[in-house]
């Protein structure tokens, strides 16, 4: 279905906005400088996402862990967690995202943060916001750097009814109270909304609510692993264009709504003008994803190249409970998923859009075909 309710120029602007994802990363200037100086491959990743616990006080339908039974006894124990935090400091990691589950259920969470902050590592905590107490904010206020550390709170609608439908009755009020408490104590807060068919119409209302609460940024994220909740691309383009007209400098909007936004635009518009304008900006590309820059530590201790790879046990680089970070990094270098890809198959070679999708995810390709050089089986074309 062609989208005729927004102009081609608006579509291009929207895509440019999506490509601004994480432009506010505090160490971006450093990363660019290192690349200018000649760093082609980072010796260690500079960003770690760490599921510090699998325990959560909620059971949200759209969560990537929905339906999973998990007990916190599988979590990395306190002694090893403290050791790991020190290893991340020694490896000169620049940013750690602490996630879960619900990180504030972990009793030693502030011990972990204290170690990471001993070397000023940038901290992001993702939380459902329902467990934010005076004690939690007191600890964060003492540990966080107000210039760049922050708590990301999940909000699933502009109204209580929508949010609580996903999260549970009473959650909206608790989350709003948590956000207010954090903001009151000068702790940076961002809001993340996973956009579904249920809350699509409330994107603008949610943004106004977030602005009134005094948060620093609002991120709208695509729902994964649940096609029933996924909005239609046409409607998503339209609603997002309307949303961006409300954006203010004080509360920037970040968009993570399409796996390959440029490709979504090309297919949605089916217009040679749009396609040519988009493709003209992608003449130089290579088939290396971000895998040298990140690592993901799953709640049970298995380490992966990224969150997506963590859905496949076979993609594990090892378990941090029994290996040190430096041992994991050696295994990473030897792992087939870490090699550069050579996309020489006929399908990709003939495809107009390969410069946009870069043949998709190498993990998906390897899981299906045992070959990273074949395209992602979930080809978007």
């Amino acid at each position: 279905m062609l989208l005729n309710s927004i102009s081609e120029d608006d579509a291009i602007l929207l895509i440019e906005k999506m490509r601004e994802y994480q432009k506010d990363f505090p160490a971006r200037v450093l990363i660019e400088k290192m690349k200018e100086e000649g760093v082609k491959r980072f010796y260690t990743p500079y960003y770690i996402s760490w599921e510090v616990t699998g325990a959560c006080n909620l059971r949200c339908a759209h969560c990537c862990f929905a339906g999973q039974e998990y007990k916190s006894d599988k979590d990395i124990d306190s002694k090893r967690a403290v050791e790991l935090a020190n290893e991340l400091v020694d490896a000169d990691i620049l940013k750690v995202m602490l996630t879960g589950g619900e990180p504030f259920l972990r009793k030693d969470i502030f011990d972990i943060i204290k170690i990471l902050k001993s070397r000023n590592i940038i901290i992001q905590i993702t939380s459902n916001g329902t467990l934010i107490t005076e004690a939690v904010t007191y600890n964060l206020e003492n540990l966080f750097n107000p210039n760049y550390d922050y708590v990301q709170i999940s909000l699933d609608g502009g109204y209580a009814a929508t949010h609580d439908e996903t999260r549970g009755k009473g959650c909206f009020d608790k989350t709003i109270a948590g956000i207010k408490l954090l903001v009151k104590h000068n702790i940076n807060v961002t809001i993340n909304c996973v956009v579904t068919v249920k809350n699509l119409s409330e994107m603008k209302t949610l943004y106004k609510l977030a602005s009134d609460l005094g948060v620093k940024k609002v991120t709208y994220t695509r729902v994964f692993n649940n096609d029933n909740l996924l909005p239609d691309d046409n409607v998503l383009f339209k609603e997002t264009t309307e949303l961006l007209k409300q954006e203010t400098k004080d509360v920037p909007i970040e968009l993570r709504l399409f796996t390959v936004p440029e490709l979504a635009a090309c297919k949605t518009f089916n217009s040679s003008t749009v396609t040519n304008r988009i493709l003209s900006k992608h003449l130089n590309f290579d088939f290396i994803c971000h895998k040298w820059e990140k690592l993901h530590i799953r709640k049970d201790g298995d380490v992966f190249l990224c969150l997506h790879a963590s859905n496949n046990d076979m993609a594990s680089l090892g378990n941090i409970k029994s290996c040190s970070m430096s041992e994991i990094l050696v295994k990473r270098d030897e792992n087939i998923l870490f090699k550069p890809r050579k996309i020489i198959n006929e399908k990709c070679n003939k495809c107009t859009f390969v410069s946009l999708c870069k043949a998709g995810c190498p993990v998906n390709a390897y899981m299906k075909y045992s070959d990273i050089n074949l395209p992602d089986p979930v080809c978007l074309c």
């Binding site: 450093l30 290192m34 620049l94 070397r119 940038i122």
Partner: protein, 101 residues
């Protein structure tokens, strides 16, 4: 300067890249976006800065790692690094006050 306790400015990130020019250390001030670079020897020094040890204690650990180098030259080189980083605000220093009985 030996009685100074050093710590990083709270806005400073450190990053060492082994493969760049035989090892390059970067210090980056997130607030000012200022960057300082040094070599592998500078990284050895920076790794020991923890806000607890005096510079003298750090040198006592550090110098034996540079066996074969003249101690006075080593001290001068490292002192220059420290002074530069203090003056540019990447490091902060606090002098140990002796307790007199």
């Amino acid at each position: 300067m030996k009685d100074i306790i050093l710590k990083f400015n709270k806005n400073v990130l450190k990053r060492y890249e082994h493969n760049l020019n035989n090892g390059t250390v970067f210090l980056f001030n997130v607030e000012t976006e200022e960057i300082w670079t040094g070599n592998g020897a500078a990284d050895c020094l920076l790794r020991l800065i923890d806000g607890k040890q005096t510079l003298e204690e750090i040198y006592a650990y550090l110098f034996p790692l540079f066996d074969g180098f003249d101690k006075n030259e080593l001290k001068e080189s490292f002192d220059n690094i420290v002074k530069s980083l203090l003056s540019k605000g990447f490091l902060e220093g606090e002098y140990v006050v002796e307790q007199h009985k």
